[in-house]
Subunit: 202 residues, 4 copies
Amino acid sequence: MPKKTFFNLPKEKRERITNAALAIFNEKGYDHTSINDIVRAAEIPRGSFYQYFESKFDVFFLLVKEAQKKKLEYLGPLLEKRKDEPFFDILMDAFSLALQYLRDYPEYALLGRHMYHAGAEEVLRMVERLDEEGVKNPLYFLKRDQEKGHIRDDIDIRVLARMIYALLGPELLDAFHRGASDEELYHLAKNHIDILKQGAAT
Amino acid sequence: MPKKTFFNLPKEKRERITNAALAIFNEKGYDHTSINDIVRAAEIPRGSFYQYFESKFDVFFLLVKEAQKKKLEYLGPLLEKRKDEPFFDILMDAFSLALQYLRDYPEYALLGRHMYHAGAEEVLRMVERLDEEGVKNPLYFLKRDQEKGHIRDDIDIRVLARMIYALLGPELLDAFHRGASDEELYHLAKNHIDILKQGAAT
Amino acid sequence: MPKKTFFNLPKEKRERITNAALAIFNEKGYDHTSINDIVRAAEIPRGSFYQYFESKFDVFFLLVKEAQKKKLEYLGPLLEKRKDEPFFDILMDAFSLALQYLRDYPEYALLGRHMYHAGAEEVLRMVERLDEEGVKNPLYFLKRDQEKGHIRDDIDIRVLARMIYALLGPELLDAFHRGASDEELYHLAKNHIDILKQGAAT
Amino acid sequence: MPKKTFFNLPKEKRERITNAALAIFNEKGYDHTSINDIVRAAEIPRGSFYQYFESKFDVFFLLVKEAQKKKLEYLGPLLEKRKDEPFFDILMDAFSLALQYLRDYPEYALLGRHMYHAGAEEVLRMVERLDEEGVKNPLYFLKRDQEKGHIRDDIDIRVLARMIYALLGPELLDAFHRGASDEELYHLAKNHIDILKQGAAT
DNA sequence: AATGAATGAGGATTCATTCAT
DNA sequence: GATGAATGAATCCTCATTCAT
């Protein structure tokens, strides 16, 4: 967690710093960004960094949290409004919103990718935790659907949840990063969901 | 590619070096392994490293190639022998062999994981290329199966191929690394394959 | 000397600060204690420190003075009451009281040790001055004793005074710090004094 | 211990480095000498330092060892030649030689003083060990003397040994450093020894 | 008087690579 | 081809002190 000092800063300066950090992380990736890089980009003195943050990870984590919060602003309302429908029925719209989020905040998309491709211990641990949490949501809906009989009884929904999470998370991020068009992305999603739902066999 | 001097080395020394490099990469991860670490572990003089290799990546790539070759020794015969059966029918056995490979060469399992979690540009590029190639094999079989009518016509088999690749590759690696038991891993595979084949919906 | 603002502080706060400083000096030693450490321990704002004190040494010196004053409360009365006896006759009791002082205020014992093992110029100078002063007291008594004929005429009492001071000061501190038992300490003192008085030769 | 690299250096360069380190330690004291100071004084690149030494202490220890060895060259022969005489009889000559050593190598005298006044943990531990060892020699002689009846039976010779060690070591160093003349130093020694032998009381 | 953010110099250490032997 | 010393830029982090509020 950033130190109190950081949150005491005027909002403007705080944003200048986070924006600079975001830019530099996206340019170099987590592992290859040095604190020096950050202070240079944010135009703050070296010493100030340590007055604001505990470590490089501290800043990174802050950014990831912000990205998450923003993503929830897109997906949250949908999940709330259509919480009673079978999960498969809202999946496509969820994907659509997730994509919209990435289009609106491409810098967070890049950050997410860097997060998934960082080598540092602390980031690996964070990702593990994030993934675990990220699976919970689909899992919640799937459990209900299985009880309602929409999902086969002999399926372990945890496995299914992971497959769905992969689509909405890393898979989408990767494809987005490869520069796929909306059309291609929707194609990917449609097929992915279709397979999960109906299976690929004839 | 390692330089010719490396391949001129007596096999014994060559292996001492690769084994040491493998050990140190697995201990520290790609990004946090320095050339210093490698020469120290391999007990070769500092200068020799540059006479054998172009860079750190050069060694890493060599190891990944060896891991790949070894993996093929497990999976190749199966794919050859049962090349005429529907792909879904041999998937479970393929998973089983992939798992056996990991159990026999856990150091390669770890290396694979480190490969997927490295931050360095050059490794990211390599992974991208490896993934692309890795998808080709299932794709080949799936294409044939689709033509034979075993796979729905309206499915984009490239999407399906990626989903299969994910199971046999990163997904398996992660679960293995989390310390999952054989039982758990088979459970994961069975469900994963079942969903891909029949779908999860009732 | 601490600034006047420090002495204007409510006694309670003043003590909170000195106690915190004492604790942190004892934990880290003079040289390795930073002003940062002190303000953190004392929970006072960074800027306040400079309103109270001139420097790190300023606080340290204050503590040493307090320790000295406290020590005098133990030894003073004895020296006063038995000021007419030969010094050798009260030495053992002086040692005993000095030891009692250390047992009662072990934090000052530790401080003393840190004082003797600091590398900073300013502390070295202080120690030199303190030692000089510390020798004066025994010297006063020894001079009188020599005049009275209790001490050999051909002895330079300044040398003897230093040897006595060493016992009651650094030597005691060191042994105390090594965790010597009362028994061991008394044994040390008895022998030390005996030698100074009668000599070790047969 | 310095690394092999250091001992592979041409003697000339090795000495340039140790001499520079000795000079800078003597100028600033152990605690306040930075590795930067050393490399600047020795005119070696920053990186080289770490190729030669493990740490600042590594260099310091090397110097202390050299000083010790040199001291032994002065005292060793005496202790050997007159090993059968009562220890008190050779003490004055030992002091004389120790003094000669300091006069010949004043830079080691200063180093010794800095050693006794360093605050760093690692130096404190070293000093403790050195003191312990340093007491062993007199102890050996005193034990023999006590058995022969030259020393009172009721004296703990360990205490006496420490008192003698103090004279030849820290006490001498301090007085030397205060700039005492030969005359004053001999006076100090004569009195010190006299007291230890015959006692100060009439 | 109280506060705590600002600052950049300076600390230790590691690094990849070159080069002379 | 083998060796390992040389190098200095770059890493992270702490520091004492000032100053505006």
